[in-house]
């Protein structure tokens, strides 16, 4: 690869880093005690991540379950083609990522 090309690839890395830092900063502004489940653009449920529970939702494609345990939550038992949402795994307020299931149009995020 030429030097100019390396610089362009490096530029993409920098852009990724900037977005990452911006998202991390935005997450610190969020309420850590309320997690909400959004279907299309409506909030269908808000739950407390410190209370263990299992919630079932009907998405555009099929059912999915949100499991809450010891301040962490994840999506399991989902009916969707790619299972991207469950491969995100457990997330918590400290290691936060929004869990998005595109076929079901459901996302689980901090308020």
């Amino acid at each position: 690869m030429k030097k100019k090309e390396m610089m362009m690839i490096l530029g993409v890395v920098v852009i990724a880093a900037v977005i990452f830092i911006a998202v991390q900063f935005m997450n610190t502004q969020k309420n850590k005690d309320v997690v909400r489940v959004i279907y299309k653009s409506d909030t269908v449920l808000e739950f407390d991540p410190n209370k263990d529970a299992e919630y079932w939702f009907d998405g555009s494609y099929g059912k999915l379950m949100v499991e809450v345990k010891e301040g962490q939550w994840r999506v399991t038992n989902e009916e969707c083609p790619n299972h991207v949402c469950s491969s995100t795994g457990w997330v918590s307020a400290d290691s936060y990522l929004p869990i998005i299931c595109l076929p079901n149009e459901i996302s689980v995020e901090l308020k």
């Binding site: 690869m1 030429k2 090309e5 362009m8 690839i9 993409v12 890395v13 852009i15 990724a16 880093a17 977005i19 990452f20 998202v23 653009s41 083609p81 790619n82 299972h83 991207v84 491969s87 995100t88 795994g89 990522l97 929004p98 998005i100 595109l102 076929p103 149009e105 996302s107 995020e109």
Partner: protein, 164 residues
């Protein structure tokens, strides 16, 4: 490459068939990685096509891959189709630009892999209006670089061995 139209036609058909096969095999055999990261192995064929045939042929092969690939999986004109289409459209544009600039194959491959990711994210954001998607964009962008280099290396090795 200067060839007669029959030979060109056969090449396009063969390459399209390979791209579609790789596309379907990849989505069924390789388990999904976190955030929906994929290798984009079918991009190898796009790279080989643009090198041995040219820009116009690459566009045909790429469109064939998305349309027939989704048709075979029964997903035609669904949201998955449009997401794939967005990715392929942008990665094809990037490929054409790189070809014009005479970039190295590895760079072309990496940049088109990034283009694929960006195109898909745009379509996803447009269709689903999910603003929180932005949180996983950095992971996708970073992952696009090694996967792009991988497909670039495979394409380079293949081109060494392919005689046209």
């Amino acid at each position: 490459m200067k060839t007669n139209s029959t030979k060109r036609f056969v090449y396009i058909t063969l390459l399209s068939a390979m791209a579609i096969t790789i596309n379907i095999l990849e989505s069924t055999l390789i388990p999904p990685l976190p955030f929906g990261i994929r290798f984009g192995l079918a991009n190898i064929i796009a790279l080989i096509t643009i090198e041995i045939l040219g820009v116009k042929e690459m566009i045909i092969v790429n469109i064939m891959r998305v349309v027939i690939g989704n048709l075979l999986r029964g997903l035609i004109f669904g949201t998955t189709f449009w997401i794939a289409f967005g990715g392929v459209a942008l990665s094809s544009i990037v490929l054409i630009l790189c070809k014009k600039m005479n970039s190295s194959l590895l760079f072309t491959s990496t940049l088109s892999s990034i283009g694929h990711t960006v195109g898909q994210v745009f379509v996803v954001m447009f269709i689903y209006q999910q603003a929180s998607m932005i949180a996983i964009v950095p992971y996708l962008l970073i992952a696009a670089i090694p996967t792009g280099i991988l497909t670039g290396i495979v394409a380079k090795e293949a081109l060494k061995r392919v005689k046209v």
